[in-house]
Amino acid sequence: MEIELGFMWETFLVALSGIPVTLKLTFVTLLISTPLAFFMALGKLMDHKISSKVIGFYVSFVRGTPIVLQILFFYSLLPTALNYFFKNVLHSGYNVFAWNPIIYAYTVFSLNTIAVLSEVFRSALLTVNAGQLEAAMSIGETKFQAYTRIIIPQALVAALPNIGNTTVSLLKNTSLAYMMTVKDITALAKIEAAIGYNYIEAYLVILMIYVLLCTVVQLIFRFAENVLSVYKKRIEVIPCLK
């Protein structure tokens, strides 16, 4: 087995230029899905019959089907459907196919991440004792204040490890964006490999870059965890002193 190190280095440099796209995919998706997932988690906790049924259905669907299939489905549905909408409903000559395909990637990954994150947030909100909300309201805070000042900071600590895991798996899933002709790390390295059929080298390069990115993401989350859980270290002493 021979591995061309020269080619690997060249591919590495080419694939590095795909890192911004991968990171953009990951973080824009997270930005879109976090608020939506939060409200979805609240909706599920409200015990409203219809909303929690609909949300449950959606979450079960997304978690029960492969993301590849979701990508293929939405990538074949959305452009044509939007085109139809613009042509026949709005009667405008707007060309949907000129859009950057990354928009579809954002859509699919967001749909997926919202479902996963909503479960993360739901379980995190459940870890906060109901008495916390009551206590906050009893000292005159509004519900909004109670959530932003008391509930969310505590729930976030519980949620953070899971948010980290979600981010890592999202980062890994973005490697499938090449199916939507988005030029991320995987796509660039594959194109490079196709010229001389050096697939092994190209995939080894991709692997190294993903391990690198994943390490960085995990370090960031570990740091955030340390910062956010500061309050916990003080509180945990209290039950012991009784």
């Binding site: 479960e119 692997l207 039950p239 002193l241």
Partner: protein
């Protein structure tokens, strides 16, 4: 635009359903080999020395960071070449071999965590108690540790299994004809038309498979946890009498736990609170000691 034809979904479903067996076969092979490798990794993490433990942890970390599709292609293109340099030719091997190899590597990493966490969840006092009443080591494991550990492991195992099934769809990229592969073939035969209907048919199959796996797992879990019922009631009763003790929901650290059912959450809480009661008593004692010494 060609109108959407829902009836095609039902035309295409019977064509794809037989290939569920291929998907399940791949899953079975992967679970067998992956669990074995995962067991070895977990043993390395729990009982191995510094080197073995480090290696096992490093492997798990590494696999966690690798997208399945990248791993699949590295195995598909790389493994034959690697083995050829040792004089073994597997270029004619079926695609299933490469798929199972890839997902064994991926699955073993998550299985090792499942095994490790379930082993650690069982109080060492359990095996001590078993040994103290005259059971042999093997009997203690088979009758005391294993039934409890398997109940703890089951929700995580189910999650890993469903993930495996979902990731396994990527096998179509190297040309394996499973559910996904057959669907893609059908779309190809229709020259790309009826793609949406075929995708929906595949959605249905995968979704049903997931739901069935989860339902079976829930049933099995109930069966495995049948011994805990009296214990759960006892804890409930003690909760009323000992008002001072706080029950904390544990932070879900394990990536695999996050998708567990509500029932298992309750039962896990029961298990952990029983441990917590003990710990809190000890902590109270040590806290009293501390305050006793710090007063001087």
């Amino acid at each position: 635009m060609r109108p959407f034809k829902p009836s095609f979904i039902f035309e295409v479903l019977p064509q794809i359903i037989p290939y569920t067996l291929v998907t399940l076969g791949i899953m079975l092979g992967t679970v067998l080999f992956g669990s074995l490798l995962g067991l070895l990794l977990a043993a390395g993490k729990l009982k191995g020395g510094k080197v073995l433990c480090g290696l096992a942890n490093g492997y798990t970390y590494f696999i966690r960071c690798v997208p399945s599709i990248v791993m699949l292609f590295i195995i598909y293109y790389g493994l034959p070449e690697l083995l050829l340099s040792f004089g073994i030719n597997i270029n004619n091997a079926g695609k299933a071999v490469f798929v199972i190899t890839t997902f064994t590597l991926m699955f073993s990493a998550s299985m090792s965590e499942v095994f490790r966490s379930s082993y650690l969840a069982i109080d060492p006092g359990q095996s001590e108690a078993g040994l103290s009443i005259g059971l042999s080591r093997w009997q203690t494991f088979r009758r005391i540790i294993f039934p409890q550990a398997s109940a703890v492991a089951l929700p995580n195992f189910t999650n890993a299994l469903v993930n495996l099934m979902k990731e396994g769809t990527l096998a179509y990229t190297i040309g394996l004809i499973d559910i996904m592969g057959k669907g893609q073939l059908i779309i190809g035969l229709n020259h790309g038309s009826y793609a949406l209907e075929t995708y929906i048919a595949m959605f249905i199959i995968y979704w049903v498979l997931t739901l069935v796996i989860e339902a079976l797992s829930k049933r099995l879990e109930k069966h495995l946890l049948r011994g805990l019922k009296p214990h759960a009631e006892a804890v409930k009763a003690s909760k009323v009498s000992k008002e001072g003790i706080r029950f904390r929901e544990p932070v879900l650290r394990n990536p695999l736990i996050s998708g567990e059912s509500e029932e298992s959450v309750v039962l896990r809480k029961v298990k952990q609170t029983s441990g917590f009661l003990r710990i809190s008593v000890r902590d109270q004692r040590s806290a009293k000691m501390e305050s006793f010494f710090s007063k001087d």
